[in-house]
């Protein structure tokens, strides 16, 4: 079990944000976290990692900081890059949790693999701050990959990516899961979520409304309860398209 959250509750300024959430994620799973804005998706990720105070249990939060950093890589929603470092140096930051200062042969291999997987070779020596927003996101995903943790927790990884990059990103997550890693990604595009995720978790009002295969979660009544809209499903040879109507 890569992620094991039991009865997790979070209150912020006495306002309950999450209430008794339980969620498990095994190796080989790509779990999509869906839900309306303010449902608590980011809060769930932060609490699972132990970055904010919470009640309940999370296997990641009970690890030592170093152990957790090697068990789970985290891509926060805010894409922060404070200094004009090169893309390569930015990705190398993912090696911080590993011993050896991040410049050993294993580190080099991990950094090169992350660059290759995100197709960032042409950008390797460029200044990360001078890239476009989508390119920065890809560099930051590569940073999380370089951490080589069995679990990747990504907060809206495809937000701001063009359609081709969105596909490439989810295909990459799919292949990570097929290799035996686990991915938890919050995602707003229901069609993409249905196509690529092995499981969807629908979060609304601080509680999990549904947890299961995409077809079981993307039901009309659940969508109406969570988002207050109806959806129309169009099955195509390339997978389902989910239209909000």
């Amino acid at each position: 079990m890569l992620l094991d959250i039991r009865n997790l509750s979070v209150s912020r300024r006495k306002r309950p944000v999450l209430h008794a959430v339980s969620l498990q994620l095994r190796a080989g799973e790509l779990v999509g976290l869906i839900g309306p804005n303010g449902a608590g998706k980011s809060t769930l990720m932060e609490a699972a990692l132990g970055l904010i105070p919470f009640a309940g249990r999370s296997n990641l939060a009970s690890m030592t900081p170093e152990g957790r950093a090697r068990a789970a890589a985290y891509l926060p929603q805010s894409r922060e890059i404070a200094w004009p470092v090169s893309v390569e140096d930015l990705i190398a930051l993912g090696r911080i949790p590993w011993p050896g200062g991040g410049r050993g042969p294993a580190d080099r291999a991990a950094i090169d693999a992350a660059i290759a997987r995100m197709r960032l070779e042409p950008y390797r020596k460029r200044t990360a701050l001078r890239l476009s927003g989508g390119e920065q996101t890809r560099a930051l995903i590569a940073r999380a990959l370089a951490q080589e943790a069995p679990l990747l927790i990504a907060d809206e990884p495809v937000a701001g990516l063009d359609p081709a990059q969105q596909l490439a990103c989810l295909r990459l997550f799919r292949s990570l899961a097929d290799e035996g890693r686990g991915v938890l990604a919050s995602i707003h595009d229901l069609g993409l979520a249905a196509r690529f995720c092995s499981r969807l978790v629908l979060l609304a009002g601080g509680e999990i409304l549904a947890d299961g295969p995409p077809d079981a979660v993307l039901r009309d009544d659940l969508m109406r309860r969570a988002f207050g809209i109806a959806t129309r499903r169009v099955d195509t040879p390339d997978g389902p398209a989910i239209l909000p109507v």
Binding site: P65, E66, E80, A82, W83, P84, P97, L129
Partner: protein, 328 residues
């Protein structure tokens, strides 16, 4: 990167030597060095050991300290405008020194003034930790630092305002401009040990500062504890800036400009900037301290005045350059 550090080290070594060989006493460089190394009788060994050596060591240590703490503060706050004085410790140290001058304490013993400054610095750190304790974020730290700096500035102004003695007021004004003239080995022994401890503490923050490039949440998820990092950083900066201000007065702009100049040369990595900025600060302060002895030797130009005169236009030039680039 390595070439830069080697080059800066050579520059610092050359300037240290030049600092040892610059002064009004009339003897040749070889004679001076021989007296420094082999000792002997007469005035030359005394001038070298008691006047020039402490001055050169303090120039090196204070400059390196300001450069190092400036780079660390900028890295921690992720802001190129941060500088070591931001946490208010240098302001409080200056206030302690000013009170020592005003009360005549500084005339009682050679170390009374720096000791009073250190007491002020310690009080400042105490206030800072109380205000921005273990749970506060970086914004709380800045705000607390600004509040303490303003308080210290107001206290200094009050002492000047109410000073019945124009000579003391004059002396305070000159002390505040910063100088390394007429310091003894006692000053070196007072300032150097805490500064070395502070430098060792800041060295341990290097990885954490790198991780903070990605923001506080990502850094925490990579195993960096923000509160432990902040504590080590504040302690390290205080242990360097307090003693530096106590022995050299207020020397501005070094901690702000040096990291800024050197950042592009180290690929903007905060950890790589720490040693480079320490060397750069040492080089800048040694050069400035040589310049004040050469430019108008008879008028006692103050070190802090020169660093500001050189530093401010340099800073303007950098702003001009980044302005055209559009980004930091």
């Amino acid at each position: 990167m390595r070439a830069l550090l080697v080059g800066l080290s050579l520059l610092v070594a050359a300037l240290f030597l030049a600092s040892l060989l610059t002064g009004p006493a009339d003897f040749g460089p070889l004679e001076g060095l021989a007296a420094l190394i082999f000792g002997g009788d007469g005035p030359v060994p005394i001038v070298m050991h008691e006047i020039r050596l402490p001055r050169a060591i303090l120039g090196l240590a204070v400059g390196a300290g300001l450069g190092l703490t400036g780079a660390a503060m900028q890295g921690y706050l992720r802001n190129p405008l941060a500088e070591p004085g931001l946490i208010g410790v240098s302001g409080m140290a200056a206030l302690g020194a000013v009170i020592a001058i005003q009360t005549g304490l500084s005339l009682q013993a050679i170390l009374a003034l720096p000791a009073a400054a250190l007491a002020g610095a310690a009080l400042g750190v105490g206030l800072l930790v109380a205000l921005a304790g273990p749970r506060g974020g970086s914004v709380t730290l800045i705000l607390a630092g600004v509040a303490i700096s303003s308080l210290a500035g107001a206290g200094t102004a009050l002492v000047l305002n109410l000073s019945p003695n124009p000579y003391a007021a004059n002396e305070i004004m000159f002390w505040l401009m910063g100088s390394l003239a007429d310091r003894s080995m006692l000053h070196v022994w007072l300032a150097l040990p805490p500064m070395l401890v502070g430098a060792a503490l800041i060295r341990t923050t290097a990885t954490g500062l790198d991780a903070l490039t990605l923001g506080e949440a990502a850094a925490t998820a990579m195993g960096v504890s923000p509160s432990a990092l902040r504590l080590r950083l504040v302690a390290g900066v205080a242990l360097i800036v307090g003693p530096a201000t106590a022995v050299a007065g207020a020397v501005g702009f070094v901690g702000l400009v040096v990291p800024h100049i050197l950042r592009p040369w180290v690929g903007a990595r905060p950890s790589a900037l720490l040693p480079a900025s320490a060397l750069g600060g040492a080089a800048l302060l040694l050069a400035a301290d040589i310049a004040v002895r050469l430019v108008i030797p008879e008028r006692d130009l103050k070190l802090g005045v020169l660093t500001a005169i050189v530093g401010a236009p340099l800073f303007l030039h950098l702003i001009w350059k980044t302005r055209s680039g559009g980004r930091v």
